[in-house]
Point group: D2
């Protein structure tokens, strides 16, 4: 999710910002621009690269823009659900981009439909648009603030009208949302890595319960709800964000490396080499290696060229041992006792496969260390609860199931102190996936 | 370059093998199969993923196959030059794949054209085909061996006829070429990483001056030229090959890490963090960090999603600081003295840009360490001599030009002992890019 | 516009029906299916061939379907405006396809937006959906009939819900809309040629002011408005429909041939050959030739292969005489006095160009005969009034402007008696483009 | 097949020329340009529209060009066989385009391969290139003339070198090949319709046994073989060429219309309407109608939008009566005795299907009249002999097989006198498909 106001190449800048955020959604991308009088718009299914062509920018005129990348796996995967959503009316147009999960969306939608409202998507995002429009067809700071107040759950929104850019964060600040500056223009992004790619400087976080309004007169801020203690979802640090981003001021690579260091202290093991599962577990593996004094090596490698059009091997070939996404590095693991660092075990099937792969390549022992606690509860980033192996098995049972020589997870306290140090009102994490306790 | 004989899914296996070798050529890919009576064929421009569709395999029948990936930058970039080249005749067909550089190709071609030969490509590969066919329209072990003997330069060839697969390596063994087994089938690959992806076991190297012949009766070997001391091009270890490959028995990641260790010994520096330029310099950077006791950190990150269809920023946006391929990680480098490890300096422009990027992101000092000697001489892997900055400047001048606080290169001896230990008849490198001395 | 209920391959049948109707809209196509519980949907920009792939039919399950082809030239050309429009709600879904022009759409939309309604398209079609939903979120026969009653202008609608297919026609029946049978299934189509392609039999016309309801129990009919005298837009016969269609029971080719016969009686001329401008004027030209006793010849030919991706010639090449869409047949017209039959003169530029082309090819005289009256008034099928040459000039002036040796139009009475014989309550045409008199 | 010399937009002009010739080959298209020093080249599979993009013209520089469209059905359908074929050598390059069938190609190729020649295609065209190159690597007027003399069969060639354009026709002139002028430039085309599209004037035919040479000095002509009596393949007039072309001076539409007139005299029938099978039989049907006094009507219509990407109906739907390419016009044929004019009966299956379709649409009687003699012998334009129904059955048997009420063919004499009047040395047809007698 990215927004900019006050730049004559707003659409192109947003395109590059979305590139930096591509890991946050790979199924669809969209972009809406504002030129003071009209909103223009382009979106499509696939990666940012696939969705936009040079020629598309001709119609995307204006000095304001917002963009979004989306995973559609849990939705009906139609292009109509790709964001930003765009709404035209005779009074004024409005575009919305959203990240989060609204817990009362279904209920609000049901009420609105009974009074004749027609929804164009199956996303929870759209209820905010209808709430705003039901107050006044012309969107305003007041109607947006009032409408946000009716939402429950976790959310960050960027809204664009013909002449204004709005950004808002839920009262717990469960998602990252940062403000930057590029020359005289203001930029908003889900992650700070989008500032680095465009050469923008970081200014500050959007605060929990804050509505930021940016237009040709500059930036204004108002509170639409009482601010609660900061509870960023822990998964943002563990695997969702890019290592080069700062999330609420904390560098993700450094945080992950610290989880590896903590893990080496909590769960040491006698071994020859440490390896991480690419890409998200490399930082933790380096931390584990540094702390343990063991050498960090590339025991597993990721094939960079396996893309969307890749032809999947037949069952027969898979049985014969074709490895597509990850390959073991025989020259590294052969005859070695390997510590394999990963960021999570969801169903256990991937871990089992990789361990077998390492053994087939000659590893003498495979010790699995997970740089996070066991994922026992359903959360937006993971799988449904019935699929989570840690919801059903003890650590020993998991170890046996995946075929490791030993297995250990980082403790909840260890995770917290590695990432945020000591939790505070300003700085804290939601541990819902691990403890089941919601802050909301 | 990949080949297989004796597998009923020869084409699919070759497809996965080419995936593992994709880094060796990204502009075109091709595949030829043999079913005992006919050769079938598919090729195209672009990545392996783009060139092949599921449906293409229907026509690629047979239990033998060879495939190739190609960089076309230095050729006329037409699909006609994508390999394997395929030649039909009433006597028998033949397909050729080649890696290397034939120094007497132009001369041979001129002679053949004067006697009426018509060439279909502008590649040097094709002269071998004409030499073979001018001896006998039906290719044979003898005519191939005789024709190889007329070639000068560096080369590795895989040749496919209706009923045989041939593999050959020049007398100095300047290129890697390995033999593996997949069940009862023999496989040939430029790099051993192609064996890991398909689950094949490594058998041995093709030897310098050896012609290997594989058919339904098994594998045979003959020498077509006197074997010389092994002189693998050093660039195969330094940046060209994949870290998970073993090149002439030496793991590439491990070799690179050892160059980093040697570099830390030869050129230590007081600093806070060590970072490597992705992807090829990460292993050396980890070695440098281990040896120096400094922490290894991700100071520079590579955008994984910048593909072929990526829209290049305008000059105006580039001036405003848009970074596309590599981004600095402000959270890591800000206020730090950074050791930046790279594998080469070619023109110096990229180094200069990255150093400036790190300074803009707040790095206090940037010390550049190159895990190879200065590249002073034209070689197939680099640029033409006029473009090589090290051909024109001293190390101090380069340091000033690229704007580093200090600069050091690994010595030629340091490189050699880090990679191959002590050179031998069996194990050695061509250092032509660095010393100008050719082994040929 | 096409619909079917009660066929297990509803989507495929609709695909073929849309092919037959392709001439009615070439910028976009869409298809919605109903399986009793859900609506599924696919649409895109371009020809039917471009929009649908074999794989799309997998998701288009169900025994009911509606489809639409669309010209987007006068709309904002986004895929969001391609029909059928689809609306989901918790109470029930609904898809709409429409042909016609609603004269009070803007006014209704303004009212609905003031009470919070959000429109997803810029088409007039969408107001009907909002009217229906504002009565009851669950669409029904009653709410559809009531909503239709609020519309002014010309319209034909096909509506699909999870378990029903509706078809409706405005009280004047200004558009063609026919009912057919394919085995036990009912089909609805804008033109009867869609029945011929799928092998369906023709049953009857949807009547002016009628709402037809088809479901698993069969077909029902109700009147939602007082039926007025039939006023099919004359342009449907003159150029819009396919020659093989029956429009309100009258074959289009035969009607056009009769206009040619009438034209030969009203405006004979001494000449050598009669030629028609392909494709829509061929029938009239054959009629003119038969009546006049002159031979019908192919004096002008249409290039069949000029498609959407055709590269337009540069201005320079156009001046040098490149002819792309139509070419003169020198072997036919050289030295001849040619009667050139066309169905309309809009701006006059095309006529002028063709006449010049015929003269360049050696025609001695070119006599233009138009098988319809002068188009003097704006209508949905033509251009805006300022562009119509007949709104600004006399017939003599037009003749001089286009460079013809003589020019004549068919009279309004001649057109009427040629097409429908004697007008009646059951059978009549709207002549609005020619007389400016609206029936509505 | 098209060529031009001396025009600064040679590539674009050739592109439009190939459009006009698209009906002569729909599986592949190619274009080679010459700028005095180099040949440039683009080709691909599919229609001209699909193969060329605007950007391709940037590299196609030069004032000379040749182009070709190709049917690949009877070849191995690879892009390598798409013409023009292009041959580079150190002495000089050469591009060839060919239409025809060389009867001794296999034999010549065998001889050349035995002396070491490598062929790059499976086309017979390539033997001419090898013959020329075996005389001298630098192509010349003499070596081309000598090489043409070694060929047997029917052929027309266009050849392009860096600085010359050559055109040649076999001694019997079995193919059409015309010379035109566009300003000061010379153009060559298989059919004169390519001159009309680009606004060129017709000059004359290439004569049997003539080699025309065009360069910056103008046009020259020499005879490479004794001229024989002109024997254009009759199929060029009957169905292969476009109706607007003049073939050896005779307009194709007019010739076909005369065959219809002759057919009406030879085989009259009592009926209500005459209809032709689109597109190639329309002219003959109009002639039959004029002569017989029966009205010409559109009893069968062709769907214009069924393209390459069209989804074929399943067997089940086909049985249910889906008609894709041709539809009957119920409004025309219902209750009528129909004369159905076609240009040929090959296997009989298509005729049978159309007759049944007309009966299903209500035709009372269907009388089939073919505007050519029975096709009894294999020829390049038709099918292999075993498939030809007229090679195995009498006219009565065919009539019964296809289910017609009556059937008649035009006589060989009737065809000849309708098309060329009285045969002469200058003007004549090869009737090989009908009589089995070859002129060669």
């Amino acid at each position: 999710m990215f927004g900019i106001w006050g730049h004559k190449q707003a659409a192109e800048i947003t395109y590059y910002g979305l590139h930096a955020l591509q890991h946050r959604g790979q199924d669809g991308a969209g972009l809406v621009t504002a030129d003071g009088e009209n909103l223009s718009f382009h979106r499509g299914q696939g990666l940012v690269n696939d969705v936009f062509q040079r020629a598309d920018f001709k119609k995307l005129s204006g000095h304001g823009a917002i963009g979004h990348v989306r995973n559609l796996s849990h939705d009906q995967g139609t292009v109509g659900n790709v964001q930003p959503l765009l709404f035209h009316s005779q009074a004024g147009s409005m575009a919305l981009a959203h990240q989060g999960l609204l817990s009362n969306a279904h209920e609000i939608r049901g009420k609105l439909e009974k009074t004749g409202s027609i929804f164009q998507t199956t996303t929870d995002t759209e209820v905010l648009a209808h709430l705003i429009k039901s107050i006044d067809p012309l969107p305003s700071e007041d109607s947006i603030a009032d409408s946000l107040n009716k939402l429950d759950g976790s959310y960050s929104f960027i809204i664009l009208t013909e002449d204004k850019l709005y950004a808002a964060l839920d009262p717990h600040g469960s998602r990252p949302l940062s403000i930057g500056k590029l020359g005289d223009s203001y930029v908003i992004a889900s992650e700070s890595c989008a500032f680095d790619i465009i050469g923008a400087s970081y200014e500050r976080e959007v605060l929990p319960g804050e509505l930021v309004v940016i237009d040709d007169q500059g930036i204004k801020s108002r509170r639409f709800a009482e601010r609660q203690g900061r509870k960023i979802n822990a998964m943002e640090y563990i695997y969702y964000s890019r290592p080069d981003s700062n999330i609420n001021g904390i560098n993700v690579h450094a945080a992950r490396k610290r989880t590896g260091i903590a893990l080496a202290k909590e769960a040491p093991v006698e071994a020859d080499v440490v390896t991480g599962i690419p890409d998200s577990s490399i930082s933790a593996a380096i931390g584990y290696a540094e702390q343990s004094g063991l050498p960090y090596e590339m025991g597993v490698i990721k094939n960079r060229y396996v893309g969307r059009t890749f032809i999947q091997p037949s069952a027969e070939l898979r049985e014969q041992g074709i490895k597509i996404k990850l390959s073991p590095v025989r020259g590294i693991v052969q005859g070695k006792r390997v510590v394999m660092i990963d960021d999570s075990i969801v169903r256990g099937t991937t871990s089992k496969r990789i361990i077998q792969m390492l053994r087939d390549a000659g590893a003498k022992e495979v010790h699995v260390r997970i740089a996070a606690p066991p994922m026992k509860y359903e959360c937006q980033y993971g799988a449904v609860e019935e699929e989570l192996i840690a919801a059903k098995m003890s650590v020993d049972e998991i170890c046996e199931t995946i075929g490791a020589d030993s297995l250990a997870f980082l403790s909840v306290d260890g995770l917290e102190s590695a990432v945020v140090g000591k939790s505070s009102f300003e700085q804290g994490m939601s541990m819902k996936c691990f403890t089941g306790e919601s802050s909301f």
